[in-house]
Structure formats: C-alpha cells, structure tokens
C-alpha cells in the first residue's frame, strides 16, 4: 500500500524546447539593455547635477525624468541584482504610507547631516531618503525643493547614489549573475531553466499586479472614497506615465516569453495594445480626476485593461513554461 512517491507522480510539465532561447532573449533583448540604459541615464543625471543643482533647472529635471523612466522600465525585474542590499527599494520607496520619504529628507536638511559628503556612508542612509522618490521631493515638492547649499549637496549625493546603485545592478547582470542566469545548475541561483524563466515570468506578473493594485488601485481607492493624493509620482506629474511605461515594458517581455507560440503572442500583444490605448485616453497625468465620475471611469477602464493584459499573458505563458504559480501565495489562508 505504501508507495514510492516519485513513481506515482507526473512532472508539472515538460521543459519547453525554447527555454534556452527564451532565457537568452530575456537577458540580451530585455534585461541587459534595460539596465544598461538605466546605468547610462543615471550617470548622466549625476553629471548634470554636478553642473546644476537648481531644482527648477530644465536640464536637471529632464535628466531626472529620463533616468526615472528607465528605472520604471526595469523595475518589474525584482530578483537577483535588484534585491541585493535592498537596491530596488533604494531606487524607489513607494508606496510611502507614512510619509517617511519627506520626513527623512526634512531631517537630513534640518540637521545639515554631513553624510552627504561621503558616497559610501550615504549607502547606509534610510532607503526612504534615497532614489528617485526622494529626488522627486527635492525637485518638485514646495516644502523640500528649496535651494540652499545643503540642498544642492543633498541632490548631488542622491543622484550619485542612484548612479552607484544602478551601475552595481548593471555590473552584476553583465557579469556573474547574468552568466549564471543562462547556465542553471545545482549551485547556481537557478537550478533549472524553468526556474530562471519562472523568475522572469514572476517579475512580469507581479510587475503588472503592482501597476493594477498600487499605481492605479491606490489613487482609485473606493467609489465612496477616492484617494487621488495617493498617486505615484504625482509631484512630478508622472503617475499615468509610469503606468504606460509598465505596460510597454511588460508587453515586450511577454512577447519574449511567448516565443514559438505566434497565436498566443498575437493575443497577448493585442491585450497590451488595448491597455495602452486606454492609457492614452486618460487625459489626467496624476489621476486627480478619480473623484469625478467620468474621469474615474477612464482610470477604471485602464485598470481593467491592464488586468486583462496580465491575465491574458498569464494564461497563455504560464502553462507553456510549465510554471505552476502561486499555489500558496494565491491561496491566502
């Protein structure tokens, strides 16, 4: 009656033939170019900040916006190099439910904390006072975007820190971690190709989930209680823009993960296009209009279309890759 377990079981799924090709494409067409662009834009932002630290400077703001764009475009790749040393949190601490970001910055400014003079020491500053979310306050918040010598030093410290952090992520991906990603094995971060693909796939699904639940869900709140002030990056007017970047970047990744299945790839592409169209119809960069019935409807439609794109991608890709996701995470008990 007692059985030997292994003989009684079936594998979850056969390994797809395209697994290595997909890993290669994910790395060389999505991950590496994305982090290389982030590294370059962050380096440029830091350079511009050494030239001007005036929070009103169009050059500084443009460099900031470009660098933040390139972070949002890879921010769904939350495994490996972005997680070491809390780098992802250090690049963007949001949602900030308790206002820790402005509080941490205000304290540094009030104390004129000399830690801004030492880039290595600055790595130990609370993640809330680092990264793009902090820099947004320093450039756009009426109370914190107030020029002074210390403010200038703080902007330079934050931008240099962003450059260091993004360079470290890019270096890891270009080096050992990227190599190990393509060569799974017993002692590598991923033991099988399916495991490595599952990490990328999970980045896509949780990235889209974040866009649905946090980027759109938090400002939407409930019909009775809309919460427009909870919109991400509203000070810099980038709330809707982040949703668009997330849709486009994950659409690209979804195409890579559906290699070899052209019909499903076309369905997925169409679902992401519908989401992008819905985003373009939201004429409200910071979701201020969620309290107004017609404005709200457009944001809700966008949320539904992103949800649909995520579900389309999930249903088409997950089973093909042999990924049985979230057995416990989705159970909730």
């Amino acid at each position: 009656m007692r059985m030997v377990l292994a003989s009684a079981l079936f594998a979850l799924s056969a390994l797809p033939a395209q697994a290595s090709a997909m890993l290669d494409a994910a790395l060389n067409e999505h991950i590496l170019p994305g982090f290389a662009e982030l590294e370059a834009n962050a380096a440029r932002l830091s350079e511009v900040a050494t030239e001007t630290c005036d929070p009103q400077s169009p050059d500084l703001r443009a460099a900031f916006n470009e660098a933040w764009d390139s972070w949002i475009a890879v921010s769904h790749l939350r495994f490996g190099p972005t997680e070491a040393g809390n780098r992802a949190f250090a690049l963007g601490f949001w949602p900030d439910t308790r206002g820790v970001v402005p509080k941490s910055l205000a304290k540094l400014i009030a104390d004129e904390d000399p830690i801004v003079e030492d880039p290595v020491a600055f790595l130990d500053v609370s993640v809330a006072a680092r990264g793009f979310t902090a820099l947004e306050f320093l450039l756009y918040d009426p109370a914190l975007a107030v020029a002074s010598d210390y403010h200038c030093a703080l902007i330079r410290a934050v931008t240099e820190d962003i450059a260091i952090t993004t360079a470290a992520i890019a270096e890891d991906w270009q080096g050992d971690y990227g190599a190990a990603f393509l060569a799974p094995g017993p002692d590598a971060p991923f033991r099988t190709e399916t495991e490595a693909l599952a990490a990328v796939y999970s980045g896509m699904t949780t990235g889209l989930e974040f866009t649905v639940e946090a980027r759109l869900g938090r400002p939407l709140g409930t019909f009775e209680r809309p919460r427009p002030k909870r919109a991400e990056a509203r000070r810099a007017g980038r709330s809707l823009h982040h949703v668009l970047i997330s849709i486009r970047s994950n659409a690209e990744l979804a195409q890579i993960l559906s290699t070899g299945h052209p019909e499903q790839a076309a369905d997925i592409a169409a679902a992401f296009e519908r989401a992008e169209e819905a985003a373009q119809r939201v004429d409200d960069p910071t979701f201020e209009g969620v309290a107004d019935p017609s404005g709200r409807l457009r944001v809700e439609t966008l949320q539904q279309r992103v949800t649909n794109a995520r579900d389309t991608a999930r249903l088409a890709i997950g089973p093909q890759l042999g990924i049985a996701e979230g057995f416990n995470a989705l159970d909730g008990d």
């Binding site: 009656m1 007692r2 377990l5 009684a8 949190f89 439910t97 993640v127 049985a324 057995f327 008990d333």
Partner: protein, 359 residues
C-alpha cells in the same frame, strides 16, 4: 463505511490487536498536503530529512493535518470552507473514518489531539450565528462527534495543544465568513481577533487580543515551544503597504510581544504570515506572497535574517533548525542561517508542514 468504522473502532478500543505505531508507517517526521502534477491531491509523510515516505490520496485540496500522538493516524483537513476531514491510517493507507461537519458548520482546516490521543479538537464555523466553535471527536471510538464548545472568538483557524498539558490554544482570526459567499470577508471594519486558551471541556482560561489599533491583524497560525511559548503569525487585512508586525510571542499570563524586521525588509512580507515555527532559540515565519522566510531570535526578538524562496509556506522545526516546503515542490533544510536544498518534487506543497514530534 459505518460498519467498517465500528469494527475498526471496536478492535482499537478493545485492545484485541497489537496497536499499530508510527513505526509501522515508516516513522515519518512530518505530514504535508500537496497537489500532484496531474491535479490530484495527496497527503504526504516525510522523513526527518524531508524525503517523501508515503502518499495517500485526498479527494480535494487539503490544508493542514493533525497527527495522532500514538497511532499512525493522520487527520487530513480539507481546505477552508471544507465540510469533511479524513482519518487515514498511514501504515496501510486505509481510510479509517470520515469526519463530516455537522449541519450549519464547516471546518477551517486545522485540528489538534488531546495528549492521550482520545480526543480530536477541530476549529469550525457556526456560520448561521456566526461564531467560532471547537468540535470534539472521540478518537477512541471511530471519531464519533461527542461535543463542541465556543472557540472564544470569530473565525478560529489554527489550534494547538500546549506541551505536557491538555490546554488548547486557538487562533481566533476575527474574520467572519459564510460558505455561501465563499471566502469573502464579511466584517473587516469590525473584526476582533484574539488568542484563546481553553481547557479540554471548553472553559476559557485565558484570552489575549491585539491592541484595538491593530484589530485588523488577523491571528491565524500558531506554533508552540516545549516551554509553552506560543508564536503567532498574523495576516494583516489593512493597507498592504502599511502592515504592523506579523509575528508575536505569548506566554501564559503575559502580554503579546511583537517581532518585526527592519524596513524595507518588513515590507517584503506583504502583510501576510503564512506559517510559523519555533526551533531552539529562533522563530521562523514564511510569506508565500513575498516569497520570503524571516527569522527572529526569541530572546531579544532581534531580526536574524531572511531567505528568498518562491511560494514558500510550510515550515516546521527540526534538529538544529527548520524544514521548509514551497509551492514549487522544493524542500529545504535551514540550519545556522544557511538554506540547504533537500530535494525538489513534481508536486506543490500546500500551506503547512506538520511535525509529528508529540508535544
């Protein structure tokens, strides 16, 4: 079925046959429910090293299990809101009894045996009321229903017995549900979780509740240490980015002592403690949503490290550390802060890894 159950019960009660022991089932150290690659559900016995020893079919998705302290019997509970539990003979694979929730009740997925193994206690929902109940079953006589009493709150989930005594400790999650609306949470604004200590007759001997400001922190899963320390894993029902501590320790007569990792690590838990275990000087809590396991020192409550594991949930003590299971089929040992792969199986381990070491 009834006849077979009576015969078995009679035999076991009369002592006419030599009693089977857990050694007859290969001496498993753990039980865990799982889903196979073909979609079927099973209950698996594992060795102390985390190797599967046997598996028995389940008719639907399981959740947790309760192991009889002496006989090789396991009670496998259906996933909430299940209406049945199966008593399985782990040495023969036979179905010994089927527990059907009485009319108007469903199980929550956890149960505990009395120290002598004569009684099984199950957490249940009296959903018409609604109120949390503990059902009492006679494990010496074919698992007949012999009574029930209040769990001390709403939405009881985990239930354990304190080591070396008959006192039960119940996690009353505070959340009201009704099987007609599936798992929908019906009372979040008004929920009031508590930890209740009950004697085996149902008398409430002690109760402790989170601070009113934390009333949306659902007390869900428990672990007990040999010295009677109870560890609690919470599931936060409020803003997921604003979760309070998700682990607490309690000793009879004391207050809740909360443990939390520093930010931003705490955020990685996503407001959700899935399973909790105590081993030596440490407590481990898992979050399948965050794909993370966090460790704390019992003494000062200091954060003692974390480990990323996709869909991690099951965790149980073993010599020198913990054994961990995931929804991707992996089993890991965890000792001295080092995660040691102990096999990957073509199945998905369900929420809990239940240790058989008698308390």
């Amino acid at each position: 079925m009834t006849t077979r159950r009576r015969v078995l019960a009679g035999l076991l009660a009369s002592g006419l046959v030599p009693a089977a022991s857990w050694a007859d089932a290969g001496s498993p150290a753990y039980l865990a429910a799982a889903r196979r690659g073909d979609g079927r559900y099973i209950l698996v016995g594992l060795t102390a090293d985390g190797l599967p020893l046997f598996d028995l079919p389940l008719p639907a998705r399981g959740h947790a299990a309760a192991a009889h302290p002496k006989r090789p019997e396991a009670v496998a509970f259906a996933r909430r809101p299940g209406r049945f539990a199966l008593v399985l003979d782990c040495s023969t694979g036979d179905l010994l009894a089927r527990l059907d929730a009485p009319t108007g009740r469903h199980f929550y997925g956890h149960g505990a045996f009395s120290a002598d193994g004569t009684r099984l206690f199950t957490t249940e929902n009296d959903y018409g009321a609604p109120r949390g109940m503990v059902g009492v079953w006679d494990a010496a006589r074919g698992y007949a229903r012999v009574g029930e009493f209040s769990s001390g709150g709403t939405g009881p989930h985990d239930i354990l017995r304190l080591p070396g005594e008959e006192t039960l400790v119940v996690a009353n999650g505070g959340i009201e549900t009704h099987p007609d609306s599936g798992r929908a949470k019906l009372n979040l604004p008004a929920m009031r979780p508590n930890l209740s200590y009950l004697d085996p007759n149902g008398a409430l001997v002690e109760q402790v509740a989170p601070d009113p400001a934390l009333h949306m922190n659902s007390i869900r899963h428990l672990a007990v240490a040999p010295d009677g320390t109870v560890a609690i894993a919470f599931q936060w029902q409020g803003d997921p980015y604003d979760a309070p501590p998700l682990v607490a320790l309690h000793r009879r007569g004391g207050e809740l002592r909360y443990l939390q990792a520093p930010e931003p690590l705490h955020r990685q838990m996503q407001g959700y403690g899935g399973s909790i275990a105590l081993s030596g000087s440490q407590v481990a809590v898992t979050s399948p949503r965050g794909g993370i396991l966090q460790l704390f020192e019992l003494g000062q409550g200091a954060f003692a490290g974390d480990h990323s594991l996709t869909d991690v949930c099951g965790v149980s003590p073993r010599a020198g550390g913990f054994l961990v299971t995931t929804g991707t089929g992996a089993v890991h040992g965890l000792s001295g802060g080092v995660l040691d792969p102990a096999g990957t199986h073509p199945l998905q381990w369900d929420n809990h890894l239940v240790g058989l070491v008698p308390a």
